[in-house]
């Protein structure tokens, strides 16, 4: 007699049923959809949804349904052509909303209500763009030291101490001329890190050194402060990038920090990497300044030097322009920006915060009739080689995009013209999303076209089905009834892998599919080991029931050993691997664990059901003449 305790049978049944339920959402497929949200993250109103329906009805674009879900409007379409048309149309008609393409699972309501979702497809399966950006932390530190430099210079000037303070790399150099009070200076330096001074911790490394100009100090950031500044720079950039991604209108984007100084961005469904990149990597900002009308710009260009108090720039037509040094308002003070048209010209409508508005009010009221200019600043990082080392240098591109005479007094709301329609759109978007605190540069990109994604899904699915059927046929022929039991376990194993992937919502990638395929081949190994053992026991003249028992028992430690070592390999892959490798490690690891359950406990339960209850078993249908 071979019988499982009743609870074990129930456990097997429960796991299989739970697994089937979890895996169920995957068989319904997806609808092409369009996702509509408000840029300010407020919930979309029922009336807006009605508006969407009216627009689609007017243009006779058929849709399956339009509902409000998670504060967003979600419209499903019967095919991709309708989805694309609707997308273009809604973008045009609803300029103040974010419209994105998406895939909506067709999971029935009762499953969705239980919280069951289909597997999450990786970028290589659904198409999209993957970027890895590196944050230029050296510049972040340098910028931070720049604030110290300015603050220290002011303090020293007020104290009447002559100095040549400057930032060099990660160090602030403080040469003091003519023997100023060095102790006083040191106190000022230590006071620079206000947060640290409050907590009575010393987070600056201050060394007294001799410069050509006289004695002075070398100031560096201690590790804790350095790390704090670096973390801050990355967090701020991550936030800005997230804002920009939201502005781009992508459903289910990923923006996350990776490692010390990298930010990963995944944009499923985006098909134009160039546009995404222009927006993500841009460091564009604006400055508003008065035009210097007292001096001649052409003379300055010829001399190659701007008069005191002014700076020389070029406008979009490469003509020289002299601007006053003082900045009235910078891009940081812009609270909202939208693009549109003003008297037929592309324009960006700008809102300023209160401090910016006050400055603008003062300036415009004092300078009526004078020209004001908008300076467009774009910084691009470049990798240059110097002394055999690769360094990132930031190149600043500054252009005067617009000059206009101040016609009247204005403060918080005004418009900027002088751009092409595309530039106006991009600029408005960038101003809304905020500037990047630190330059970033792309170190990895992967773009997968939508057709390749679909091909990958189809080929992966076909490989799984054919591989599975080949193994099933082989096992059935070779091990007869026992082979069928193993096949049952193999199928249950596939269901459980899909169930776990759905539960964990880990992204399924093509290497992940390869992992599943490999698991299908290797999962039967446990059963092969058991069945060969049973055959051996039978050959040795043992009774069928005893052979079954011995076969399972003796094979167990071997199976455990063998699987644990593969699990070790999978774990190492998971911990050290990135992207595609991780996907493979996840399915391989999950597959090993589920296969242990199905092929040992699962098959035993079924074998016991078939043979276990019988008192007289003459032969086992396990193939081989035994």
């Amino acid at each position: 007699m071979n019988r499982y305790p009743r609870w074990l049978n129930w456990l097997v049944l429960f796991v299989i049923l739970a697994g089937s339920l979890l895996a169920l959402p995957n068989i319904y497929g997806v609808d092409a959809g369009v996702h509509v949200t408000r840029p300010d993250a407020n919930p979309l109103q029922e009336s807006t949804l009605g508006q969407i329906e009216t627009i689609l009805d007017e243009e006779e674009i058929g849709f399956v349904s339009a509902v409000l879900e998670d504060d967003a409007g979600l419209v499903r379409f019967a095919n991709e052509a309708d989805q694309q048309r609707a997308n273009a149309l809604l973008r045009e008609r609803m300029p103040n909303h974010i419209v994105a393409l998406t895939l909506v699972p067709r999971t029935p309501g009762w499953l969705a209500a239980l919280g069951f979702e289909p597997m999450n497809l990786g970028l290589d399966l659904r198409g999209g763009v993957h970027f890895l950006y590196q944050v230029d932390l050296d510049t972040a530190v340098q910028q931070f030291l720049g604030t110290y430099e300015a603050s220290l210079r002011t303090q020293l000037r007020e104290a009447g101490i002559r100095n040549r303070v400057q930032v060099e790399g990660d160090t602030l150099l403080v040469p003091i001329i003519d023997g100023g009070d060095l102790d006083e200076v040191e106190r000022m330096i230590r006071g620079l890190d206000e947060a640290g001074a409050l907590q009575l911790v010393d987070r600056l490394i201050v060394d007294r050194v001799n410069f050509d100009e006289g004695s002075g100090f070398r100031v560096q950031l201690a590790d804790t402060l350095l790390r704090e500044r670096q973390d801050f720079a990355i967090q701020q950039n991550t936030t800005t990038l997230r804002n920009r991604v939201n502005e781009l209108g992508v459903a289910e984007p990923v923006v996350q920090r990776q490692g010390l100084d990298r930010i990963l961005i995944q944009l499923p469904g985006v098909q134009d990497p160039a546009q995404a990149e222009r927006i993500l990597g841009a460091t564009a900002t604006l400055e508003f300044r008065l035009v210097d009308t007292e001096n001649n710009a052409y003379d300055a260009q010829e001399r190659g030097r701007a008069p005191l108090g002014s700076e020389l720039y070029q406008d979009t037509g490469s003509l020289p322009v002299l601007l006053r040094r003082e900045v009235i308002v910078t891009g940081d003070q812009i609270t909202d920006a939208t693009s549109g048209y003003d008297q037929g010209q592309p324009a960006v409508f700008v809102n300023l915060d209160s401090s910016g508005a006050n400055r603008m009010l003062d300036t415009t009221s004092q300078n009526l009739g004078r020209p004001m200019a908008v300076l467009f600043i774009e910084e691009t990082p470049e990798l240059v080689e110097r002394n055999g080392e690769q360094i990132i240098e930031t190149v600043s591109d500054e252009t005067v995009i617009n000059q206009a005479t101040i016609q009247g007094v204005f403060s918080s709301r005004f418009r900027i013209t002088g751009l092409t329609p595309f530039e106006a759109q991009d600029l408005a978007l960038l101003l809304r999303a905020g500037a990047l605190a630190t330059p970033i540069f792309k170190i990895e990109e992967r773009t997968i076209g939508p057709s390749l994604g679909q091909d990958n899904i189809n080929q992966g699915r076909l490989a799984i089905i054919v591989g599975f059927l080949a193994v099933v046929a082989f096992m059935a022929v070779y091990y007869r009834i026992f082979g069928l039991v193993a096949n049952l376990a193999l199928f249950a194993n596939l269901v459980l892998i899909v169930a776990l992937l759905s539960l964990l919502q880990a992204a399924l990638t093509l290497p992940g599919i390869a992992g599943i395929v490999l698991t299908v081949g290797m999962a039967v190994d446990a059963n092969v080991l058991i069945f060969e053992r049973i055959r051996e026991e039978l050959r040795n003249g043992n009774s069928p029931q005893a052979s079954i028992r011995a076969g399972y028992e003796k094979a167990f430690s071997t199976i455990a050993d063998a699987n644990i070592t593969t699990l070790i390999a999978a774990t190492v892959l998971f911990t050290l691997g990135t992207g595609p490798i991780k996907g493979f490690a996840v399915t391989l690891g999950l597959g090993i664990m589920t296969s242990m359950f199905t092929s040992i406990i699962g098959t035993r339960a079924v074998v016991n059901l078939i043979y276990g209850g019988r008192h007289q078993v003459q032969r086992l249908a396990i193939g081989g003449n035994v």
């Binding site: 390749l452 490999l518 092969v528 430690s557 070790i568 892959l573 050290l576 990135t578 493979f584």
Partner: protein, 310 residues
């Protein structure tokens, strides 16, 4: 289907010296290939740009190369990718980060200008520093996996068998690498993953045999080590062959149907499974034999004490 009606009785350990000779030749050849030819690393490792484009009709590689050369791209590698309508372009890394980042899109625009029907299927750009990181990480992963596995096998079998198992793994990895070097197949991230899967598989095989050897050392007290190992390999032969067959079945399905992206992965695993099966019979067992295994080397310490009791 009677493949093995009764336990076979091959003298596996008989020609073990010849097998060792063969393994040594293969390893030396692999090392030589790796030294002289090296591996054809994929973009992930070298940095650079990879572009996959699809044409509507079959295209001439020379014309694609011509377009790229006209646009000033240096040393583009242009090859078909599975079909005469699919072309894979690889551009070497450039030092200027910004320029390198947009190279792929620019190259595509150039190709599109010549033939508007061309479709962008995939762009991969990997900066030089990422490639370097990945190479480091890959090597580290491999080393780390080997150490962990060695520790586990030590724990379960004592050191002589652990050494045998690791010898087999290093053997498999080296020869598979050698195979990739000789054939010039692209060695990318998925191949690296496959290599680690090979480690898992080969070890699986080795452990099944070792487990049986351990069991037989306990059962057959009189046999010589060679005889016991032979018996054990024969007893597990049916399992070794059948698991090999089922695994190869799915891998061939993946190779033929899985598309080009998993081609290298499938090839590496097929090669690895074949080599791994051979190595668990010959390399692992021969190495253990060469280290002069005895029953005490197999049985975990506690049992050993029990055995020594009068």
């Amino acid at each position: 289907m009677p493949l093995f009606n009764k336990t076979p009785d091959f003298n596996f350990m008989g020609p073990r010296r010849q097998a060792t000779g063969l393994s040594v030749i293969l390893i030396v050849a692999s090392l030589a290939a790796l030294g002289f030819r090296g591996l054809n690393f994929g973009v992930e490792f070298t940095g650079g740009v990879l572009l996959e484009v699809g044409y509507e009709t079959a295209v001439d590689l020379e014309s694609v190369r011509g377009v790229l050369a006209e646009e000033g791209y240096e040393n583009p590698s242009v090859q078909f990718f599975g079909a005469a309508t699919d072309v894979l372009v690889r551009l070497p890394p450039v030092t200027d980060a910004e320029e390198g980042a947009n190279l792929g899109e620019q190259a595509f625009v150039a190709l599109q200008a010549r033939d508007p029907a061309v479709e962008l299927r995939r762009v991969e750009f990997v900066g030089p520093q990422v490639g370097e990181d990945l190479r480091e990480q890959g090597g580290l992963a491999m080393l780390f996996a080997l150490i962990m596995i060695f520790a586990y096998v030590m724990l379960r079998f004592r050191w002589k068998f652990a050494a045998g198992a690791i010898a087999a793994l290093v053997h498999d990895v080296l020869i598979t690498l050698g195979f990739f070097s000789v054939t010039g197949l692209t060695f990318d991230l998925s191949v690296l993953a496959a290599l680690l899967a090979v480690i898992g598989y080969s070890l699986n095989d080795t452990i099944v045999i070792f487990d049986r050897i351990r069991e037989n050392f306990r059962l057959i007290r009189r046999g010589s080590a060679v005889n016991i190992i032979n018996t054990s390999i024969n007893q597990t032969l049916a399992r070794t062959v059948i698991t090999g067959i089922t695994t190869l079945l799915v891998l061939v399905a993946l190779l033929l149907l899985g598309g080009n992206t998993v081609y290298g992965f499938s090839v590496a695993l097929i090669a690895g499974v074949l080599i791994g099966t051979y190595s668990s019979i010959y390399v692992a067992s021969s190495a253990a034999l060469a280290l002069d295994v005895s029953p005490t080397d197999l049985v975990p310490p506690k049992r050993e004490e029990a055995d020594e009791m009068p």
